[in-house]
Symmetry: C2
Subunit: 141 residues, 2 copies
DNA sequence: CTCATTGTATTAATTCAATAATACAAGATG
DNA sequence: CATCTTGTATTATTGAATTAATACAATGAG
C-alpha cells in the first residue's frame, strides 16, 4: 500500500489516507474484493497512530469504498454500489453550487465558470478512469 | 447595513459578514465609493465583537472589495479593480480542480460534472449580476 | 477451547481557528 | 491644540477537530 503522508501541509492525516485510497480505487489500482492492510499494519507502515487509520477506514466505509468484516479484515467494496449514485450527485451538487456562489460574488458569470471548467478538464491527464459504469442510460442529474 | 448572522450553522461570523458584503457588492446593493459602517457600529448592530468585524473588513480589503482609509473610514472599492481578474481566475481554478478531483475519486466523469454544472447553473435565478465587466474581449482562461 | 488478529470504544492530550478583552496609533474635526 | 472617531495590534479564552493512549469485543485458525 503506497501512501504518502505529509504533516507539513495542514491536511489531516486521516483525510490524506481517505483521499489516496479513494483515488486508488477510482483509478483501478485497487479492485473490488482486494483486502486492505489491517489497521495496525498500515499504521505502523505510515508511522501513525492506529486510531488515525481506523478513522480513515471508517470514513471509507461510510463512503462505500470499503467494507469491514469485523475480525476478518477490510476489503474494497464491490464496484456496484460505492455509495448510492444519487448521494454522489447530491454531494457534487453542493460543491457546484458553492463554486457558482463564489463566482457570483466575484462578479464572474456562469458562462465563464463553465468555460473555466472545460479548460481545466481538458488539461487533465486522459481520464484514467476505471470505466466501472459504462451504462449511464438511466442517469438523472 | 442589513446583515443576518446566525451562530447555529457553524459558519464563522466573520465569514458570514464577508460573504454577505461580497454578495451585496456583486449584486449592486453596494456601489463603489459607498461608505461602510465603522467597525464598532456594525459590531454593535450585529451584537458581535469589534475584532470580528475588523477581521471581516481585513479579508474584504485583501479581496479587493473594500479599501480602508485609516481614520477616515472604509469604502467600497472602485469596481475597476476588485482583486485582479487573474487572481480571481486562479482562485476559481483551484476550486474547479478540487471539484474535478473529488468527482474523479467518485468515479464520475468530467463530462458528467460539466453536465451537472450546466444543470445547477440553469436552476439559478436569472444572474442578477452587476454587469460591471461587459467587455470580455481580452479574457484568457 | 485457546489465542492471535481483527476492528471498536472511551477517554485524554494537543493543536488551531475563531472570538473576545483591552490598549494603542493616527488622522479628522472643532 | 484637544479630543473624538477611525482602524490596528497584542494577548487571552474558548471550542472544535485531530491525534494519541489504552483497554475492549468478536471471530477465525489451530
Amino acid at each position: 500500500m503506497q501512501l504518502h503522508i505529509t504533516t507539513s501541509e495542514g491536511v489531516p492525516i486521516y483525510l490524506q489516507i481517505v483521499n489516496q485510497i479513494k483515488y486508488m480505487v477510482a483509478s483501478g489500482r485497487l479492485s473490488p474484493g482486494d483486502e486492505m492492510p489491517p489497521i495496525r499494519v498500515l499504521a505502523e507502515q505510515l508511522v501513525v497512530n492506529p486510531n488515525t487509520v481506523a478513522r480513515a477506514y471508517r470514513e471509507l466505509e461510510a463512503a462505500g469504498v470499503v467494507e469491514k468484516r469485523r475480525t476478518a479484515g477490510t476489503y474494497v467494496s464491490d464496484g456496484g454500489s460505492p455509495l448510492a449514485r444519487k448521494e454522489q450527485i447530491r454531494i457534487l451538487s453542493e460543491r457546484v453550487d458553492a463554486l457558482l456562489s463564489e463566482a457570483r460574488q466575484m462578479g464572474i458569470s456562469v458562462d465563464e465558470v463553465i468555460e473555466l471548467l472545460h479548460s481545466r478538464a481538458s488539461d487533465l491527464s486522459p481520464t484514467s478512469n476505471n470505466e466501472i459504469r459504462p451504462d449511464k442510460s438511466q442517469d438523472t442529474l
